[in-house]
């Protein structure tokens, strides 16, 4: 059912793009349809694999953590830029339906830093890990080595579903889907000029809850303005459309600490890991 829905939406998006030659007005609708349709189809496909492989698990969604701080290391393998090693700092604060997540990636040995503040408001939430929220975020990325900086403002609608509600074989898994828009202001400092560009946001992922309150997720992110950039599926074809793919893992180590690991692959390969300190967590 979900596969058919995804395929239908993707077909609608694909046909609208193909029949109009990716017309400037139509593509603002066609591309989100294509990306979300492929995302839903992909989620249902992976969910089938999950159900067949595990038959469902007893693991449930992690308990919310009111306050957390994490410190870690990031590595970005991108031959286009001088940076490689980063100190990664992030935090998360939850106040009822509101959540605030500041983060900083500061390059070690290069003049590059990316600071971001994301805020969200939960529009609908169940106690079983299903949630729909409105997100806004601002990002400042200084490429001082290169003589430019980007400032991005964005807004998106994000959903996360506990797929266990669809059937016992999917128990212990979840799906994420989000879509939004943003605007990137570009300050070409060395050239003394500015420019700007709007961007489309879309993300789809599938994950599994892990014993002990952890979770692992595989995702596709359509945006191409992050460290990861956009994927080149092969040397011969497919460059310049797709975003990045990634995996992430978060596993509590007792009530106070959690371990985090993430990797993204696009035009660059990004790996990060960190230790999270938690306050107010019950597990």
């Amino acid at each position: 059912m979900l596969s058919a829905l995804g395929a239908g939406i993707a077909t609608l998006g694909g046909v609208s793009l193909a029949s109009t030659g990716a017309n400037r007005n139509v593509s603002a609708v066609g591309i989100p349809l294509l990306v979300s349709g492929v995302g839903i189809f992909g989620i249902s496909w992976i969910a089938d694999l999950y159900g067949s492989a595990t038959g469902g698990t007893n693991a449930g969604p992690p308990e919310p953590t009111p306050v957390s701080l994490s410190l870690g290391y990031g590595r970005v393998d991108d031959p286009q830029f001088l940076y490689e090693h980063f100190a990664v700092l992030s935090a998360a604060f939850q106040f009822g339906r509101f959540q605030l997540e500041p983060s900083l990636w500061a390059a070690l040995g290069a003049d590059n830093d990316r600071s971001r503040v994301a805020g969200s408001y939960s529009l609908w939430k169940t106690g079983l890990g299903t949630e729909v929220k409105l997100q806004v975020a601002g990002t400042l990325h200084n490429f001082s080595d290169e003589g430019f900086a980007t400032r991005t403002a964005e807004s998106s609608l994000a959903g996360r579903w506990n797929l266990g509600s669809l059937g016992p074989r999917l128990a212990g898994s979840f799906a994420v889907l989000s879509a939004g828009v943003g605007y990137e202001s570009i300050d070409l400092q060395m050239a003394g000029t500015t420019t700007g560009s709007s961007l489309l946001l879309g993300r789809a992922g599938f994950g599994a809850f892990l014993p002990g309150g952890g979770e692992a997720e595989f995702h596709y992110d359509h945006r191409r303005d992050t460290f990861a950039g956009g994927l080149t599926p092969s040397r011969r074809r497919g460059s310049g459309f797709a975003g990045s793919v990634g995996v992430s893992l978060r596993q509590p180590l007792g009530r106070r600490f959690a371990f985090k690991l993430a990797s993204e692959l696009g035009s660059a390969w990004v790996v990060s890991s960190g230790l999270e300190v938690r306050w107010g967590a019950t597990q």
Binding site: G21, R24, F143, F148, T195, R224, T232, R235, S239
Partner: protein
């Protein structure tokens, strides 16, 4: 464990392909225009022509620039028949203070010179007679022929009908799949073009191993100067410019800072319609390129890939997307098949850029 290890090279290969998908092409650029056989060495300056045939008595070049210089170093003095394909109409050859006139029976962009080489190095220059003057001139721009290759002669005929055009700059995607028959057909279609075409590659040329393009047309990224104006045609066939090519571009930008400089590549660094994102695979890299072009005082940016026409500014520099060569067009944009005519003045810079529709036939 053994099974998992089997997939490790595949994974590493995937990651390498993702991160530097076009890393084979810059190194191939380095060996264009140089060849030797016993007793005879040919070296074309800056690799601006590919050597297609080479024997003791006959040399065939495909020009990638309006002006060619080369050293023909042969141990034994004697005659040489030099054919330059994709040559500037009316080009002459200067060797050892003498000028040679071209004669050809195969169209105006084929120059044939009957030379009498001295033993040892012979320095030659092939150029139109006015190549060192700084008077204004005009050239054409097009991109994205792809599946319309069969009717590409219609565009070429219309371009040829524009008076005083010196050459055609192409932003790539001259073919759909990079198949051998497509390149053969493309060269047949060029018979209807009265001026030479200087082009880089798009994402459709790189669908095949790069050797085919390399053997026929030479460098994927090329820089030349004509009548006081610099041109940099840069390979972004994988929606990215390879770091090695950035190093070459840095030198070209530095050399051309005081002159009018025109930059052309296939992918726009940023799509003028942001959400569509038909642009570089990394926005950050796209901005990096814009920064370098702005710092290098580039006067005009030319792009293809999007099958329509957009006039805009990037980092304060006039920018044009012109993908009107005939490939599946953007619909409902009121544009259609077209090319650009650019008037440029080496003294004052860019004078005019006009979009010219291709006549329906």
């Amino acid at each position: 464990m053994t099974t998992h290890c089997r997939y490790l090279p595949l994974l590493l290969c995937l990651i390498t392909a993702c991160i530097r998908p076009g890393d084979d092409r810059p190194s191939m650029d380095q060996d264009v225009g140089v060849a030797s056989i016993p007793g005879f060495v040919v070296d074309v300056d800056n690799g601006l022509a590919v050597i297609r045939e080479f024997s003791d008595t006959h040399l065939v070049l495909w020009a990638e620039a309006p002006v060619l210089s080369a050293v023909l170093d042969r141990e034994i003095a004697g005659p040489l028949r030099l054919t330059v394909l994709n040559c500037m109409p009316g080009a002459q050859l200067q060797m050892n203070q003498s000028w040679y006139q071209s004669h050809s029976e195969n169209g105006v962009t084929e120059c044939v010179f009957a030379l009498d080489l001295a033993a040892g190095p012979n320095q030659i220059t092939i150029a139109p007679r006015d190549y060192e003057s700084d008077d204004p001139y005009r050239f054409a721009v097009m991109g994205d022929i792809q599946t319309a290759l069969g009717s590409s002669h219609e565009v070429f005929e219309d371009i040829s009908a524009i008076p005083k055009l010196r050459f055609l700059v192409c932003t790539g995607d001259i073919v759909q799949d990079g198949a051998e028959w497509e390149y053969e057909l493309f060269q047949e279609k060029l018979q209807s073009l009265a001026i030479p075409i200087f082009t880089t590659v798009g994402n459709h040329e790189v669908r095949q191993p790069p050797q085919r393009w390399h053997d026929l047309f030479g460098q994927f990224s090329v820089h030349f100067r004509f009548k006081g104006v610099d041109f940099s045609l840069v390979d972004s066939g994988n929606a990215s410019i390879d770091p090695e090519t950035y190093q070459r571009l840095a030198k070209w930008l530095d050399d051309g800072r005081e002159r009018v400089h025109i930059f052309a590549t296939h992918f726009p660094p940023l799509d003028p319609i942001g959400p569509r994102n038909a642009s570089f695979r990394s926005r950050n890299e796209g901005v990096k390129l814009l920064t370098r072009l702005a710092e290098g005082s580039v006067d005009l940016m030319l792009f293809g890939h999007i099958h329509s026409y957009y006039k805009y500014e990037n980092a304060g520099i006039p920018a044009y997307v012109s993908g009107g060569g005939g490939a599946a067009p953007e619909q409902y944009d009121g544009i259609g098949r077209h090319f650009l005519v650019v008037d440029v003045d080496p003294e004052s810079g860019l004078r005019k850029v006009a979009r010219v529709p291709v006549n329906a036939r």
